[in-house]
């Protein structure tokens, strides 16, 4: 990990205790369908089942907890608004949800209002420290453990490029500069890293 992640205070969210992936997928899809009909109770359930991942991602990308909360709120309102547009034939509910959250978070850090981002040199000087800080914050959840394991199957460059792009919100050209890669190769590293993560985790293609 190349950034300081959000440090969860104490108990990891119990509502996200490991649930078989297929069960979770069908539960979330069903909740979204009910939300699309205006069922607020279903949306509250959806919130409870996803908020730790949604907020955790938002705070990881935008850093500032207050802004992360705004981003998460905007994302949930958009999810509510477009819930009837979710198509389970085109992907899982959690992928759809986190894609929207990620886009909102990236938009926030790239907007002109976010002027306090750290620069490239800071990142590169602090990578070792950040690795340790993230390790300390490691969650014991089985799924997180599996994902971390899968990430070790990536090459260092693939993993760094993927993390700078996904969690850092940087474009592939920015990532290339940050990692001293020839222009145009970071996008390949990102893609290769995602493919390896996908295949290691057994994501259907």
């Amino acid at each position: 990990m190349t950034h300081i992640g959000p440090v969860s205070t104490g108990a990891s969210p119990s509502e996200e205790a490991p649930v078989p992936a297929t069960d979770q997928a069908s539960v979330l899809a069903a909740l979204l369908k009910r939300a699309g009909r205006g069922d607020k109770g279903a949306f509250a359930e959806l919130y409870d089942a996803t908020s730790a991942r949604v907020y955790g991602l938002a705070v990881r990308v935008v850093r500032d907890p207050a802004q992360a909360e705004e981003v998460a709120q905007e994302a949930y309102l958009e999810l509510w608004r477009s819930s009837a547009r979710f198509d389970p034939d085109r992907g899982s509910a959690i992928s759809w949800i986190l894609t929207i959250v990620h886009r909102k978070a990236v938009d926030r850090v790239r907007s002109a209002e976010a002027s306090s981002r750290r620069d490239t040199s800071y990142h590169q000087q602090n990578q070792a420290v950040e690795h340790d800080a993230t390790a300390e914050a490691a969650h014991a959840s089985l799924e997180a453990h599996r994902v971390r394991g899968a990430l070790t199957s990536l090459t260092d460059v693939q993993r760094e490029a993927l993390e700078l792009a996904y969690f850092g919100g940087y474009t592939h050209t920015e990532v290339a500069t940050m990692l001293d890669l020839p222009l145009g190769t970071a996008k390949t590293r990102i893609r290769d890293g995602l493919i390896r993560l996908r295949d290691t985790m057994g994501v259907p293609t």
Binding site: V7, Y55, A165, V175, I190
Partner: protein, 239 residues
């Protein structure tokens, strides 16, 4: 593998800049390989937040559940019509006008940047002139992440363009959607969009010399330069 195809991973995790993304989405509309790959890569990317879970503050739950009271869910997409070809095409005089009327009724909400009067009939004729111009050209519809869609028709001979927005999410309290044309990499204001989910607006400025069109959410009254990333961005082919 073509060079643009190699952008699929960066696209899947929002690691393209706005212009690259707009170009890639035009490719994506016609590339089923990329569509399938991006779906699977997004599933993989969705695993990454498993490693960063953090307990959300209680205030977030309250604000979300209060907030949805004020937001009506969009209807599902029911049309079984095939998606429009993203291929750039020159639309004939009659077809351009007919297409726009078919999309949603040209008289529904009409506005142009120099008037707040939505019933102002001269704006209809100005919009009509663009739509019926011999060189009226409909650019591929940009489907927004928020569920809406933006279509732009331009006439280089008239040096203007019309944008039609459907199902746009509200810009937010004290905010407005602002229209932009990109000249030499800089966005120049092309007017403001009135409130409401559906609008047809005549642009200020000359799209013939522009590289791209964009829409951003700005504080009420608009901004001199975009302060947020575009919610819609349509790249023009380079001359």
């Amino acid at each position: 593998m073509s060079d643009i195809h190699a952008l699929s991973g960066a696209y899947a995790i929002d690691a393209l800049d706005d212009v690259e993304r707009a170009r890639f989405e035009r490719h994506l509309a016609d590339c089923t390989d990329c569509q399938a790959e991006i779906a699977s890569l997004r599933e993989a990317a969705a695993l990454l937040p498993e490693t960063t879970v953090a307990e959300a503050p209680a205030s977030l739950r309250v604000s979300v559940l209060e907030g949805i009271d004020e937001v009506r869910p969009l209807p599902p997409v029911v049309a079984s019509t095939p998606p429009p070809s993203r291929r750039r095409r020159v639309v004939t005089l009659v077809a351009a006008a007919a297409a726009f009327i078919a999309i949603g009724g040209i008289g529904a909400t009409v506005w142009h940047p120099w008037s707040d009067d939505s019933s102002d009939s001269p704006s209809i004729s100005a919009i009509d002139r663009v739509l019926t111009a011999p060189d009226a050209e409909s650019l591929p519809t940009d489907r927004l992440d928020s569920g809406g869609a933006v279509t732009l028709v331009r006439s280089n001979s008239l040096h203007t363009a019309v944008v039609r927005a459907r199902d746009m999410a509200p810009a937010g309290p004290d905010r407005v959607y602002q229209l932009w044309l990109m000249h030499d990499g800089e966005f120049v204001s092309a007017g403001l969009m009135p409130s409401g989910a559906d609008n047809t607006v005549l642009l200020e400025g000359d799209p013939a010399s522009a590289e791209a069109f964009g829409i951003t959410s700005e504080p009420s009254g608009g901004s001199d330069k975009p302060t947020r990333p575009p919610v819609s961005l349509i790249a023009f082919d380079q001359a």
